[in-house]
Symmetry: none
Subunit: 223 residues, 2 copies
Amino acid sequence: MEGVWTIALCEDDEALRSVLARAFRAEGHSVVLARTGQEAVRGFPSATPDVTVIDVGLPDSDGRDVCLALRAAGLTTPVLFLTALDALHDKISGFQSGGDDYLTKPFELPELLVRVAALARRRAGDTATNRGLRLDPDRHGVALGERAVALTPIEYRLVGRLLSRPGEVVRRQALVAAAWPPGASVHENTLDSYIRRLREKLVSLDGPPGGIETVRGVGYVWR
Amino acid sequence: MEGVWTIALCEDDEALRSVLARAFRAEGHSVVLARTGQEAVRGFPSATPDVTVIDVGLPDSDGRDVCLALRAAGLTTPVLFLTALDALHDKISGFQSGGDDYLTKPFELPELLVRVAALARRRAGDTATNRGLRLDPDRHGVALGERAVALTPIEYRLVGRLLSRPGEVVRRQALVAAAWPPGASVHENTLDSYIRRLREKLVSLDGPPGGIETVRGVGYVWR
DNA sequence: CGCACGCAGTCAGGTTATTTGCAGACAAGC
DNA sequence: GCTTGTCTGCAAATAACCTGACTGCGTGCG
């Protein structure tokens, strides 16, 4: 896994939705769910996901309209369409309503995961620069200009989560959920230890001061 | 259309090849053609295309091996695989042998054009070379200057995958997928053993130190 | 046939990096 | 000044990896 992302999923089928959500979480990503197009349009923009997966065949509206509505709401994340329709015009119109990829049901789970990863990676390349600091998937670390440090898997997922939305407070609980496998029992203090070590590694890059700030009683922010 | 590119196409079927070539040219791109994997490996690197399209089912070799060979030869362009196989493992191993997209025959021409355009648009910048080490397909081994060592099939595919993206961490899972036939059950430790044997063989070439570095909890990098 | 050989896969034990938990110092907010 | 939550340094526990040796399988050769 190259990074830690937030994935928005809009799917009406109960079974499929939970399978996909579990699969994404198993890879360490956070998931935002919606059952209907309406829910998606209401919920996704504020979640600012890294990738959006939308079922075209929603009960209340066409997934492509949802995509357009999301774009209109200012969401710029890549969109992958999921659909039972495999006629050509559907694919093309999927791409043309702002979609970035297209997958026909039935599909195999790993293929979806791979494609989602490809989309997220592309986006990360576009935007993951925060004051010069960027996640470096190649080295599995972070880099600032020339300098770079390697990170352990947990550290990597932690910065990934913080960097993904600069200026936004991330709750301790959310960080734990992002960095540890689901269901892991994590001692309160363990997170503190990691933050400490992260800060240590980050100063070794000696960029401008700042970085991980703590918000007492809530969590941490990247600034 | 956003630009004019050079597209390399490796396809053995006469009819399909000319249809595709004509379609690409109709959009204003230049096209470099190859009938066989051998031709592709010889011709594509010097053509430095923006996108490479490879048929997996070539008569003389597996398209994925062609991809590995091209990558080893220093070609960094995105690769789109074309294939009649739509079984899952084929798709996955396509992605993991360094492919960037995958299209199953029969496909509709506009879809291919759209995907090729997407790849060309996000074409990555050039990357580093392999410090003189290169894959030697004839001997089925690796060579550094004068010296050369032979490799077993699995070893060969492993270095191939590592060399294909120097400096980029390759996950254990991806290495397994690249080196073993799909669905093979590979004991955790088996990969370790192979890496060990590879390192052993590589020091016998006594080039500069370095080579395969391990990234704990993730995979390995070629440096 | 019987043997040697190279390749592939396994195992057990040693060696590290990573992860976790503790316990005391510190700082913020009431 | 007291409580609560966070920081820090450290050491134990764990998991990942390395290593060397061993087994089984097939191929080719005498």
